[in-house]
């Protein structure tokens, strides 16, 4: 039986962070669907999750309030550039259909992960209060 929230939630919380980050990246792609020269980006969930699990605290130490934080990559690795199916003349590589579908998929996965996490919390609550599941 796991002790503590970290163990109880397992990889789900890392997954949620990666989904959240991907959500931001894909929303940025959609917002810039018509920006000339904008290159669509994405993160590879599998490697991102692996790195999120290993990296721990990647924050660089700053000694002055005006220093830039070192956590440039956020949870889980670097962003990759999408390879466009059909290059456009203005150099923009956002394909709105593709972005929308990746984004919808990411939202669903996030909600699934959230559902699992939520379930874990209810289980723990049941364990703490000692009530049988009804």
């Amino acid at each position: 039986m796991p002790i503590g929230f970290e163990q109880a939630l397992g990889a789900q919380q890392e997954a949620l962070r990666v989904y959240q980050r991907r959500h931001q990246v894909l929303a940025s792609n959609l917002a810039n669907a018509d920006t000339p020269g904008f290159k669509a980006r994405d993160i590879d969930f599998k490697t991102a999750l692996q790195q999120a699990g290993q990296s721990g605290d990647t924050q660089m130490q700053t000694t002055n309030a005006r220093h830039m934080g070192g956590d440039m990559e956020g949870p889980g690795g670097e962003k990759l550039y999408r390879v466009p199916n059909q290059p456009s003349l203005d150099g923009n590589t956002v394909d709105p259909d593709l972005e929308m579908s990746s984004w919808a998929e990411n939202v669903q996965r996030y909600q699934a992960s959230l559902q699992f996490t939520s379930g874990r919390f209810s289980s723990m609550k049941h364990a703490i209060t000692g009530q049988a599941r009804g």
């Binding site: 959240q20 980050r21 959500h23 931001q24 990246v25 929303a27 940025s28 959609l30 917002a31 810039n32 669907a33 018509d34 920006t35 000339p36 020269g37 904008f38 830039m68 934080g69 956590d71 440039m72 990559e73 956020g74 962003k79 709105p96 929308m100 984004w103 939202v107 996030y110 909600q111 959230l114 996490t117 939520s118 919390f121 209810s122 609550k125």
Partner: protein
């Protein structure tokens, strides 16, 4: 919570697209305007978009902003209409260089992009709502 940035990003997209819709409306409204002077003839306006990173702390969020509004350099059409009240001494009036087909395409593209951004905002709101209700 990092997801708050998504509202800014999608909001910037919406505002940029609505400005594009606005310039498209101006262009279409002035498609048939004529002028007696080649300098003052209406030239179609198009916003120029630029990607802006929200800051070094958060490189994942890339908003969009309208850099400036560019006037089209396409040649204006000179029409020989000596009876026109605006005609110059040689009898020419100068029509706008608005291309209605191009403008209609811009209008559709802008409205679709606007809708996508709205979709992003409403779904993000729902996601956050569910996150807040976690474990209840």
């Amino acid at each position: 919570m990092t997801m708050f940035n998504v509202f800014d990003v999608a909001g910037s997209g919406m505002s940029a697209q609505s400005l594009r819709l606005n310039t498209t409306a101006s262009n279409l409204a002035n498609a048939d305007s004529v002028s007696g002077d080649i300098e003052t003839a209406y030239r179609s306006r198009h916003p120029h978009f630029q990607a802006v990173m929200d800051g070094f702390d958060n490189p994942d969020s890339v908003s969009v902003r309208v850099d400036n509004i560019v006037r089209s350099g396409a040649p204006v059409e000179a029409r020989y209409q000596p009876e026109h009240p605006e005609a110059d001494e040689e009898g020419y009036v100068y029509a706008s260089n608005v291309n209605p087909v191009e403008e209609m395409v811009n209008m559709l593209s802008a409205s679709r992009a606007y809708q996508n951004n709205i979709e992003v905002i409403s779904t993000t709101r729902e996601m956050m709502q569910r996150t807040l209700q976690m474990g209840q």
